[in-house]
């Protein structure tokens, strides 16, 4: 593949590009799904193509193609150069990339068992048994379960001399039960809804989920939610557990710390950020126990790789340290704007046909020293919520509202009755500022976000967020329309 790739590098050089690169990407996605006891889908998808990026006299051009010949690559590279020339028609300061050594390397996601070699009938058998167990509850009207496997083989070559080959492997699964009665429906999922839990690695990730062990409970809880009281409205203490913590980190810290957004380059679509650059190193983002760390080297992380799509080696750094804003997600184009000499390596593209943009890395709330039992014991009047079903946040990442699958009232230090439709609202720094306890390392786990959308044209990226349950004081809870 590098021989084919070299054609684009040759053309970029011949036409005087400041920088050029090509990413050839071969991707395979397999989805196996059950719905209501029947096959919901069995899809095996493969794509092969390349994206050529050119920086010509300080202006960007990008084109993608899938004709796997030297002529095809050459035509695409020339198109990228023509587009870069048009970009110069509306340019102020030429783009300069932060330096990064040239690498020749091969990197691969570690795994134990290749999920693509596991027979489809074995996958279907697990899903089928889980599906049947969920439907044991008579009020469950809709069941769905799914496994997803993704492998991406990348060949990245730059005019600076990098030749990086990477193979990324992700595996995930989910199941949900929807109970319906009298025009009302309630959903419960495991490990979570929204496409479920995905991590980097192989079939061992699916085995560790033990889907069948949880299926009957999932169905029963969906049915039980139908007759549970609605989460009461009011200002109460809140414990967030399950994958809801991942969404809280993702939306209110992850996107807010993407430097391209902070500088206004996403204004036309997803918005900007309240976490502006003059706040770096000073702004109180949360209470002193809040430490939030980005890490492209994290085992199991969906954003874990050897290198990003700018060819920058994987790193680990703080976004929030002891409650203070301490860093951003950066790429080689923008990191110099905040005086950073080297990018943190957050530039990633969706497949072969998209230009790399700044994406959230794996981003985790570091564990505290408490436990869920202690968090509960410290609440007089509160709610514990688990697993996200709905999310919304303003375009500066300040005002948010989340809805969860399930909640439990906490009274006088004891977890009590189940409640349905739990929601909460907050303002990001005030909310993180109210965090007064975080469970310890024993309860810390990684949650995958496999469908993060950003950019125009829209791109999907995957990342993980690690956390243990955490407690927040005086939160606006139970907002209903």
């Amino acid at each position: 593949m590098f021989k084919l790739a070299s054609k684009a590098i040759e053309i970029a050089g011949k036409h005087g590009a400041d920088f050029g690169d090509i990413r050839i990407v071969e991707a395979r996605t397999q989805t196996v799904a059950m719905k209501n006891g029947e096959l919901g889908g069995l899809d095996d998808q493969t794509t092969l193509g390349y994206g050529v990026r050119v920086l010509y006299k300080g202006a960007w051009g990008f084109a993608s193609g899938s004709v796997m010949t030297e002529r095809g690559v050459a035509d695409t590279a020339l198109k990228a150069i023509a587009i870069a020339k048009a970009s110069r028609l509306l340019m102020a300061v030429p783009v300069r990339l932060a330096p990064e050594p040239a690498y020749t390397d091969i990197w691969q996601t570690p795994f134990l068992k290749d999920p693509f070699l596991v027979p489809v009938e074995d996958k279907l058998a697990i899903l089928s048994r889980a599906d049947a167990l969920m439907r044991k509850s008579k009020k469950v009207r809709v069941t769905s379960s799914e496994m997803n496997f993704f492998r991406e083989h990348q060949w990245h070559m730059t005019t600076e001399g990098s030749r990086i080959e990477q193979v990324l492997l992700h595996s995930g699964a989910s199941m949900t039960a929807t109970a319906v009665e009298n025009g009302q429906s309630q959903l419960r999922g495991y490990p979570c809804s929204h496409g479920g839990q995905t991590l980097s690695g192989g079939w061992e990730i699916i085995e560790a989920m033990n889907l069948e062990d949880h299926a009957q409970r999932v169905g029963e809880e969906a049915a039980a939610l139908l007759s549970a009281p609605v989460c009461p409205a009011g200002t109460r203490d809140l414990i967030i557990s399950g994958n809801q913590m991942a969404l809280q980190i993702h939306e209110s810290v992850g996107h807010a710390s993407e430097l391209d957004r902070v500088l206004g380059y996403e204004e036309s679509y997803a918005g900007s950020s309240f976490a502006t650059t003059e706040k770096l190193g000073k702004f109180r983002y949360g209470s002193p126990i809040v430490n939030i760390v980005a890490d492209a080297t994290l085992p199991g992380g969906l954003a874990t790789a050897g290198y990003d799509d700018d060819g920058v080696k994987a790193q680990r750094w703080h976004i929030v340290k002891e409650g203070v804003l301490s860093g951003y997600m950066t790429n080689r184009e923008f990191c110099g704007r905040i005086g950073q000499k080297r990018s943190w390596g957050c530039s990633r593209a969706d497949g072969y046909s998209n230009i790399p943009i700044t994406r959230i890395c794996n981003l985790s709330l570091m564990p505290g020293s408490s436990s869920t039992a202690e968090l509960v014991a410290g609440i007089k009047d509160g709610v514990m919520m688990e697993n996200n079903v709905s999310w919304s946040i303003d375009q500066k990442r300040l005002n948010f509202q989340f809805g969860c699958e399930i909640g439990w009232l906490i009274k006088n230090g004891k977890k009590g009755r189940m409640v349905k439709n739990p929601t909460y609202q907050g303002i990001t720094p005030e909310f993180w500022g109210s965090c007064d306890a975080i469970a310890g390392p024993a309860e810390w786990r990684l949650w995958g976000v496999a469908n993060c959308g950003k950019g125009q044209p829209g791109q999907r990226a995957m990342m993980c967020h690690g956390s243990s349950p955490a407690r927040f004081r005086k939160v606006k809870i139970g907002v209903h329309g």
């Binding site: 095996d44 899938s66 048009a86 279907l124 036309s268 919304s392 044209p457 209903h480």
Partner: protein
């Protein structure tokens, strides 16, 4: 697409006696993105994707790929056929449909629009950016154009082809702490009023500077078309999608023929000759029908594909998504019947309310009542005694949409095409007693 018939023949031959459905999607498309008054991203993509569904005696499998060499086709089809063998039979699986006469639809392909060059897009962006720079404003947005071709074919002889061109212009202008926005999508780039959109976004940004705090609570809201369409898309998809209806999860269940919403609200799904045209057949190659969803507030009919139609003992309306579909059939070409008057007239008739340019990050909370949340964005203004008095900081709404559209008190006369789930032709509207549950800091 050159030689597509040859590729289809090869696929059907490789499938052998197994029923085979092929979707071919060719997208040749480019987008210029600008921010901070300069071009920030400039991209082009040309991609053909094949999706092949195989059916045999109650079993099905799907393979998708983008390479069409003989070797690639053989590898993909062999893989699909191998997967197919290893399943249990699904007695509910429908065989492939036969050819049915298809409506012609409108001509939505304009070759000049499809062929527009990056210099043209740069010039469109430049016109706004230069004006903004002179005025101390900041322009952000996108200019895009391209073409799409879709083919649905199956081994029973069905062959349906569709082609369109598209252009879209979306602009956000920042004026210190004020924001303004305007957008238009069209099949023919000549239908985009660039200067008018630029003027709207710039004027709105200047007018929304120094927003005042306003208390959350119940307000009358005047919604510009984009804001109204955002809410209506959820109402129609979650109310009139055939799968949710068949599962008993739609607010329309048991209420067809009943007055549930405001008498001012009439909506149809019409890909053929309405204000939001598109694909005249569905993703199984079945003819799209014109379906009235709501007429004078009375719930009329959901949309169906063959599967949900069978479950509901009715006929398909030709709204299948690519199969198998978890979501099921949904309306994608909605036209809201215009009322009377302009946006200015709606404002004039409002004693106290909030004018909303756009909603941001809307999401569903409860499917049965279409309870939603989201933020206002890019120009939110207080209306007092029939006129816009001042900008206000953005609100979050948390609102049941069935109730919201019961409280529809006026529909404007000028519908414009708005992009979203599909395409919607939507006028401005006024809703009473709309719930803003909190506000933000800007």
């Amino acid at each position: 697409m050159k030689n597509i018939e040859t590729v289809l023949k090869k696929i059907f031959k490789l499938a052998g006696r197994v029923q085979c459905e092929v979707l071919v999607d060719h997208k040749d498309w480019a987008l210029t993105r600008f921010a901070d008054n300069v071009i920030s991203q400039n991209v082009a993509s040309n991609a053909v994707n094949y999706s092949v569904r195989l059916l045999d005696d109650g079993r099905s499998a799907k393979v998708s790929f983008n390479q069409d060499s003989d070797e690639a086709l053989k590898k993909a089809l062999c893989s699909g056929l191998e997967i197919l063998k290893k399943q249990k039979k699904d007695p509910a699986l429908l065989p492939l449909p036969k050819t049915r006469p298809l409506p012609a639809g409108q001509n939505l392909y304009f070759k000049e629009t499809a062929a527009l060059e990056p210099a043209w897009r740069a010039e469109r962006a430049g016109e706004l950016a230069r004006a903004c720079k002179r005025a101390g404003q900041v322009a952000c947005g996108t200019v895009e154009n391209g073409s799409t071709e879709l083919i649905v074919a199956n081994s029973l002889g069905l062959l349906a082809r569709y082609r369109d061109s598209s252009a879209a212009y979306s602009v956000t202008v920042r004026d210190r702490d004020g924001f303004g926005w305007a957008e238009r999508t069209a099949f023919d780039a000549d239908d985009i009023p660039f200067a008018e959109l630029n003027e709207t976004a710039r004027r709105k940004a200047a007018a929304s500077r120094n927003p005042k705090e306003a208390k959350p609570g119940r307000y009358t809201v005047v919604l510009e078309p984009q804001a109204a369409s955002d809410l209506l898309a959820y109402l129609c998809v979650y109310g009139f999608g055939g799968q949710l209806y068949a599962d008993g999860r739609s607010f329309a269940c048991g209420k067809l023929g009943k007055q549930v919403l405001s008498p001012l609200l009439t909506i149809e799904d019409n890909a053929l000759d309405g204000g939001a045209p598109g694909l005249p057949f569905d993703f199984e190659g079945q003819p799209r029908s014109r379906v009235t969803l709501i007429e004078g507030g009375v719930l009329k009919s959901p949309v169906h594909d063959r599967k949900t139609a069978k479950k509901c003992k009715t006929a398909s309306t030709g709204h299948a998504l690519p199969q198998p579909s978890y979501m099921g059939p949904i309306p994608l070409n909605l036209s809201v019947k215009p009322g009377r008057g302009t946006l200015a007239d709606l404002i004039k008739g409002t004693e106290r309310g909030v004018l909303v340019t756009q909603f941001h990050y809307t999401n569903l909370l409860k499917a049965q009542t279409v309870e939603m949340t989201g933020m206002t964005r890019n120009g939110t203004f207080m209306i007092e005694n029939g006129r816009v008095t001042h900008p206000v900081k953005n609100f979050r709404f948390t609102q049941n949409m069935v109730e919201a559209f019961k409280n529809l008190s006026a529909v404007g006369g000028d519908a414009v095409p708005v992009g979203g789930w599909g395409l919607m032709s939507c006028p401005p509207m006024r809703l009473d007693n709309f719930n803003f549950s909190s506000s933000t800091k800007f």
